[in-house]
Symmetry: C2
Subunit: 340 residues, 2 copies
């Protein structure tokens, strides 16, 4: 991050017509964005949300409340503008990119970014979810999609995902990297009951036992118990940091991709903002590990990038106040009484 | 609230293409707004923020980090568009109404709503802050300003305030109504230190001792230890509920006005949304009493209506998803697997 820009932005915050610190986290956001953009008065003009979609072989173990066919159905819903992410992206004036990186159905649509690597991942209970070749191809999809968006001048990227079964992958990844028991990071996903959650925990234990992912090798974890959309999002996060574009992460699954990226290169956290706190119990643990505090906490657990896009308004508020407010000198407002 | 509209909105939420409940508090907001507007698919077209400004005689006791002259200076800053509330209102496309209900300086400006009742309140340490006549005039200002905004078609009102010394009034009001010791509801205001906070607590204890406000008579409390802008905001809240217009309350001071309004008529809480959780310790206690959970928690403590206006984006997100999302049937998306 640009230390000069951070210092100048910090000074500006102290001169604006408000008690120092009274805008709380908005001030911190503006200052960090100054450091990311390398300018004392940063600005966000183009906003994007990237939704990576893929299927998961582990759904054959009955880990989700919804059938796997919902993945392609929801991709088509995204493309026709009928999902929550579409409504929230319209509100935030964010462009939506939908990427098929591994949906288990043939899908074609003029607005779909068609980068299918496989018809879903393999069942992690029986062996690695991804081959090494699939893993690197999926990360490359993330690089390519982010590069294209960066080329178009994006200033802020939110990440989201669609993939029935992907909270199972996120639990396996985060339990391994955080070296926690899987039950501590296993929630109710799209809405399973407690009995089904116990089954999901057993499936996860079998997957970890079968694959023995190495907690000190993030790419090994990603291949063995991850998924194609999570790998692609890992690529997006890495590439965004390389382009100095801030990333808003969403819930449990997109945060597991960020966890992998930051395990590979810890300085990437400088570019990350946590959009919201999901209801999934593992999410809180990932954010604590990354040192991120969520901007919103609205009991959401939808994914798609919804919590991340909703938080774009908070980032914009931070920049609006930072840029548009008058200083004490400009407005002729008295500063603090002495000795206080 | 309209029970039919609430029931229809609840049904609609269950048909939208997302796991039931996965939009968390956004779903609750959309459903309550349906009940307020009396329509299953509510809409917010015109947004307003009302900022009431007045001075406080108690500032002569040295309770604030800023001199009283900052009140008129900040009012002029609001009118020239240079304050935080202006930047946030532009972002939220909310109209700003600035009302002088008792600033201790002559103020004239074409955009200022000039309804000055007195040159500030009296010093509550020496006797009642307001006479009965001043109290009712101030509440009437709130009625009048809200009636005018309602007449112009407002669908959502945020309330804010400006008045050096007004956290002292808010502490006295809320400590009395919640029957708590003043120290539990006394914070650092615009930025006093701990020694000054102890002095502020002593001033508050003297004011309560001197006036003996009756905790069972909200208007007695408002007159004796309140202030002109807090009384005017109480009027705004009462009138908004009467017009079935939802109100976003802001921080500690505007919440103390809402506390008075709800003590007079408990059903008013149906129309209230808590924009954010202020750093002021008394704010949390007021919201708990009102049964409101703040939408945002960003460590802000500025007032002016900033936290309330920032939360407008959350209400809009609730309505956008509720209105614009496809249903499972429309989008051809499968619902849950059975037995889950």
């Amino acid at each position: 991050l640009d230390k000069d820009a951070i210092q100048q932005a910090t000074q500006r915050q102290q001169q604006l017509t408000k008690p120092a610190g009274s805008l709380g986290r908005l001030e911190e956001i503006a200052i960090r964005l100054a450091g990311i953009q390398g300018t004392p008065i940063p600005k966000i003009q183009r906003r994007d949300v990237i939704v990576m979609a893929a299927d998961h072989g582990v759904t054959r173990e009955g880990v989700s409340a919804y059938p796997a066919e919902v993945t392609p159905q929801m991709v088509l819903n995204f493309l026709s503008g009928g999902a929550a992410i579409n409504a929230l992206a319209r509100q935030a004036e964010a462009a939506v990119s939908i990427v098929d990186v591994g949906v288990a159905t043939e899908l074609h649509h003029p607005q779909l970014i068609e980068r299918k690597i496989a018809l879903g991942s393999a069942n992690m209970v029986e062996g690695p979810a991804l081959t090494s070749e699939q893993l690197f191809k999926a990360i490359q999809v993330g690089f390519d999609v982010l590069d294209e968006i960066a080329h178009q001048g994006s200033d802020l990227v939110a990440i989201g995902e669609m993939g029935i079964g992907n909270t199972t992958a996120a639990s396996a990844i985060s339990a391994t990297l955080l070296q926690q028991p899987v039950e501590a990071l296993t929630g109710y996903g799209t809405g399973i009951n407690e009995q089904q959650r116990q089954h999901k925990i057993q499936v996860l234990q079998r997957a970890v036992q079968q694959n023995q992912p190495d907690p000190h090798d993030p790419l090994d974890v990603l291949a063995k118990v991850g998924g194609l959309e999570i790998a692609a999002l890992t690529g997006v996060v890495i590439a965004a940091a390389a382009h100095r574009i801030p990333v808003l992460i969403d819930g449990f699954i997109s945060s597991s991709a960020a966890l992998i990226a930051c395990a590979l290169q810890p300085r990437i956290t400088d570019y990350l903002f946590a959009g919201h706190a999901s209801v999934e119990p593992g999410h809180r643990l990932i954010l604590a590990q990354l040192g991120l505090t969520p901007l919103l906490s609205l009991d959401m657990r939808l994914g798609e990038g919804t919590g991340a896009v909703l938080a774009m308004h908070i980032l914009e508020a931070a920049l609006r106040t930072h840029r548009e407010m008058a200083t004490f000198a400009d407005a002729g407002v008295s500063e603090r009484t002495e000795n206080t």
